[in-house]
């Protein structure tokens, strides 16, 4: 085992991690630990755009953007955080332009903007052009531009280093009101070098988690194979709560059967959804903004069409995204990648044929709770000094119960930057926290137990059963019965997980071993998502309970906070303690959400 010492360690090299690294790397000795080469990160798969009220093509302002974000999140958004994001969006776009991002341009040479779901002018009057974009590869361009700037600033990367544990120490402390409590402090992280199989401990004054989402708990997902909830899982195992994990976004337009993302920008450019009767069904569900309603509403409407027998195809299990009324040159210039995806993977020619689509698991609204300075919280309001999180792994909460399209690319830039600045600033004045005795012990045990296990179960089989049950029971429509079914399956999978075997016993590039580790995180995350979903007996944003179809502000206008707690017994499962946290309101009172 080797020990390294850095002022700042960033975990993850997607958009949030690299945006943080650009700031932190110029101010403090910084290392970025990433399980993938930076340019492989899933930020690169984002397509449609990044919203900011530049008002380059029509009237707009950040206050409208704030309102849309809050309403889009069905009022579970912390409004102070949404204001920060919408306000700083403008500089975030300009920063990227200065770093070299090749945005599409207007005829006058300004950054062009297009429509996106849920983004409106004047509090919902009509769709507005707010999304800055680079064809349908905006995420690719952001990832490349950030990596280019990391190269420019000589940021130090440890590529293919899997962070598997967070080193925290606890100190006795007393609150202002005299009650004693345990204050957590960060000492560093433990990582596994894929190439050699060696463990490396990184001692750091500041640690930034920017490790992305957990979409692989579902079968049909737009997420990469590597998005297994590692960062959330590590934090959870170390006693940090996870906020609002019941809210998972299903993106309406995944390629049917495959889940590959087709950007909402397609609908922003004029594409529409049709059912088997050729009907533009969104006119019924969202009469004002129709196909550009927020994702939760569109996804649910699609699933409902299928459920009521108006799905297409031999099994009537998808609907159609129709671009055939658009100009081919227009599609080719604005949406080149997604048309190629339809051709390559489904053999469908989108210029002349509508494309089969169905909702695909896309984005975790919840995650590690932070404040607007990207500082991680160990409960509702106690900051863990030196620990930061940004991007999908975090919950600020700017997305509430449903994220608006493009707000994730915005989130990673605004809060990635904030996290990098704050981490460097903290490291300047702080001392290193002494590493615990045998800092790698937990990770060594985790790995050796899996490596030496002689069980009869296969990781891939368990993972598939998990994903199948999550798709069947915890997707767009949920009920107490379906959630209980999922919890029962997860429980039995947990038992079987103890009986797995891996075949690769080697040290070098042992991805077999790491897939087993990742399955552990997936099981944890699936259980947290399902347990919190069971407890939220209302429907809000991305979380829809058929047995409680209305939003219930009296009982549920609050964030959920899930803690790992061996002694806790909750409805349907055990080992997770549920608490709540108030939502921050500044100026918008909850209204009924209609589009």
């Amino acid at each position: 085992m080797q020990v390294h010492k850095y002022d700042v360690v960033i975990v993850g090299a997607g958009g949030a991690g690299m945006r943080a690294a650009i700031e932190s790397g110029q101010r403090a000795r910084t290392a970025v630990l990433t399980k993938l080469y930076p340019t492989r990160s899933h930020t690169g798969a984002a397509q449609g755009g990044m919203c900011a009220a530049l008002a380059n093509v029509e009237e707009d302002n950040w206050e409208w953007h704030t309102f849309d974000t809050i309403k889009g999140g069905d009022y579970l958004v912390d409004q102070d955080a949404a204001e920060v994001m919408a306000k700083e969006a403008i500089d975030a776009v300009l920063d990227l332009e200065k770093m070299g991002l090749p945005f599409n341009r207007t005829p006058e040479g300004k950054i062009d903007q297009r429509r996106f779901g849920g983004h409106t002018r004047d509090h919902g009057k009509a769709p507005v052009r707010r999304a800055c974009y680079a064809a349908d590869r905006t995420g690719h361009m952001i990832l490349q531009t950030l990596y280019q700037n990391c190269v420019k600033h000589n940021v130090e990367f440890y590529n293919e280093y899997y962070v598997l544990d967070l080193l925290l120490v606890e100190e006795d402390a007393v609150r202002a009101d005299g009650t004693p409590y345990k204050q957590k402090r960060v000492a560093g992280v433990v990582s596994y070098d894929l190439a050699s199989g060696e463990l490396h401990v990184f001692q750091a004054k500041s640690v930034v988690f920017a490790s992305g989402g957990a979409g692989k708990v579902f079968k049909t997902t737009s997420n990469a194979h590597t998005l297994t909830g590692d960062g959330m899982g590590i934090a959870f195992r170390r006693g940090i709560p996870l906020e609002d994990m019941e809210f998972f976004q299903f993106h309406p337009t995944g390629l049917a059967g495959l889940g590959i993302l087709l950007t909402e920008g397609a609908r922003g450019e004029g594409a529409i959804l049709r059912n088997s009767e050729g009907e533009r069904f969104m006119e019924r569900y969202a009469p004002t903004i129709k196909d550009l309603a927020p994702r939760d509403i569109v996804a649910r409407s699609m699933a409902n069409e299928v459920r009521e027998g108006r799905g297409c195809g031999p099994n009537k299990d998808y609907v159609l995204l129709d671009l055939t009324h658009l100009e081919p040159e227009h599609i080719e210039s604005k949406l080149p990648d997604i048309t190629e995806f339809a051709r390559t993977y489904l053999g469908v020619e989108p210029f002349t044929e509508p494309v089969p689509v169905y909702p695909t698991a896309h984005y975790a609204m919840g995650g590690i709770p932070t404040n607007v300075e990207a500082q991680v919280l160990q409960d509702n309001d106690t900051v863990i000094p030196g620990l930061f999180a940004a991007g999908e792994v975090a919950c600020v909460s700017v997305h509430g119960s449903n994220r608006l399209g493009t707000n994730s690319l915005l989130d990673i830039n605004v809060f990635g930057k904030r996290a990098g600045l704050a981490a460097a600033k903290y490291a300047r004045d702080a001392e290193f926290v002494a590493l615990p005795e045998e800092p790698e012990a937990f990770t060594t045990t985790l790995l050796e137990d899996l490596r030496n296990a002689n069980g009869t179960e296969r990781v891939a089989v368990l993972r598939k059963e998990l994903q199948d049950t999550m798709d069947a029971n915890v997707q767009v429509f949920r009920t107490a019965e379906s959630l209980q079914e999922a919890l029962d399956v997860i429980k039995s999978l947990r038992g079987r997980y103890k009986n797995v075997a891996i075949q690769d016993k080697g040290k070098r590039f042992n991805l077999d071993l790491l897939e087993a580790v990742e399955l552990g995180f997936l099981l944890d995350m699936a259980e947290v998502m399902t347990t919190t979903a069971m407890h939220r007996k209302e429907s809000r944003g991305g979380h829809y309970r058929e047995d409680f179809p209305d939003r219930d502000d009296v009982n549920f206008m609050k964030h959920s906070m899930a803690y790992k707690d061996a002694d806790a017994v909750s409805e349907g499962t055990s080992g997770i303690r549920l608490e709540t946290k108030p939502v921050v309101f500044t100026r918008y009172q909850p209204m009924e959400r209609k589009y």
């Binding site: 899933h42 070299g100 040479g109 300004k110 009907e279 604005k334 995806f341």
Partner: protein
């Protein structure tokens, strides 16, 4: 800018069978994989796997089937599974391609399908190569925007035409399919290789950039663009459809134009 469109019809009549569908064909294949694990043996060898696959499956699905159902030690990189992250360039039937973008039905499944690591970079294990030399060349061409002077507080303007000039080379996902298909690179690992030149091109032809001369100087080196023999392997290999050879030619021309 987006053009204003008339509202599409509320209801249209769909042609029967629209949007594909139907029974997905099933077939058997032999996947012949080049295995190498120095912890087991210094020798590389071919191993065959017989698999039943479906019409929509890709090489990546076949590799996963092997890893998940037959032999967990088979090692390869992958992440996005739809051709945007650049993890899984490999030699498939002797051609460099992304495993996640190569559909089995487009290959001749009556014969074994060969899969091996890309050439010219040190093999680490099975299909995994050491990417460090590749990224080293990339870093050497200053792959970032250099704009001197005061940072503007507003956005810089760029005309649609100026933006279009370098569009093709912005698509690169650094998968190394091009560089590792280049016969010059196979024999001379010092050669920058097509991918680095593509990424230099992206900035040389960006009207906002001011370091074009420095990059041209770097690529005028004896290991630079002049080593290119215009074999077009790189353009054929590029999964993003980038006209790699054309980009290299444009950089050559820019060097010549500058020295005149």
């Amino acid at each position: 800018m987006s053009t204003e469109l008339p509202e599409p019809a509320s209801v249209v009549k769909l042609a029967p069978g629209v949007g594909g569908g139907g029974e997905i064909p099933k077939f058997d294949i032999t996947l012949r994989v080049r295995r190498y694990d120095p912890e087991v043996s210094e020798e590389a060898s071919w191993e065959d796997f017989k698999l039943t696959m479906y019409g929509t499956d890709r090489i990546l699905d076949a590799l996963h089937k092997v890893k998940w159902e037959h032999d967990g030690s088979l090692s390869f990189r992958r992440s996005c599974a739809h051709g945007v992250c650049g993890s899984d360039a490999m030699r498939i039937n002797g051609r460099n391609r992304l495993a996640c973008k190569t559909l089995l039905k487009d290959l001749d499944t009556s014969k074994p399908i060969t899969v091996e690591a890309i050439k010219g970079l040190p093999v680490e294990k099975d299909l995994i190569v050491d990417m460090e030399p590749f990224f080293q060349s990339y870093r050497e061409v200053m792959p970032f925007l250099v704009a001197k002077g005061h940072e503007p507080s507003k956005e810089r303007y760029q005309s649609v035409e100026d933006r279009e000039r370098f569009d093709d080379t912005t698509k690169c996902i650094l998968c190394a399919a091009c560089t590792s298909s280049c016969p010059v690179f196979w024999t001379d690992g010092q050669y920058f290789g097509p991918a680095a030149i593509v990424n230099a091109h992206r900035f040389i032809f960006d009207s906002r950039d001011e370091a074009g001369d420095m990059r041209l100087e770097i690529l005028n080196d004896k290991e630079g663009v002049w080593r290119c023999r215009t074999t077009f392997n790189c353009s054929e290999a590029c999964p993003r459809g980038i006209q790699v050879t054309k980009a290299i030619a444009e950089v050559k021309q820019a060097i010549l134009a500058r020295s005149l």
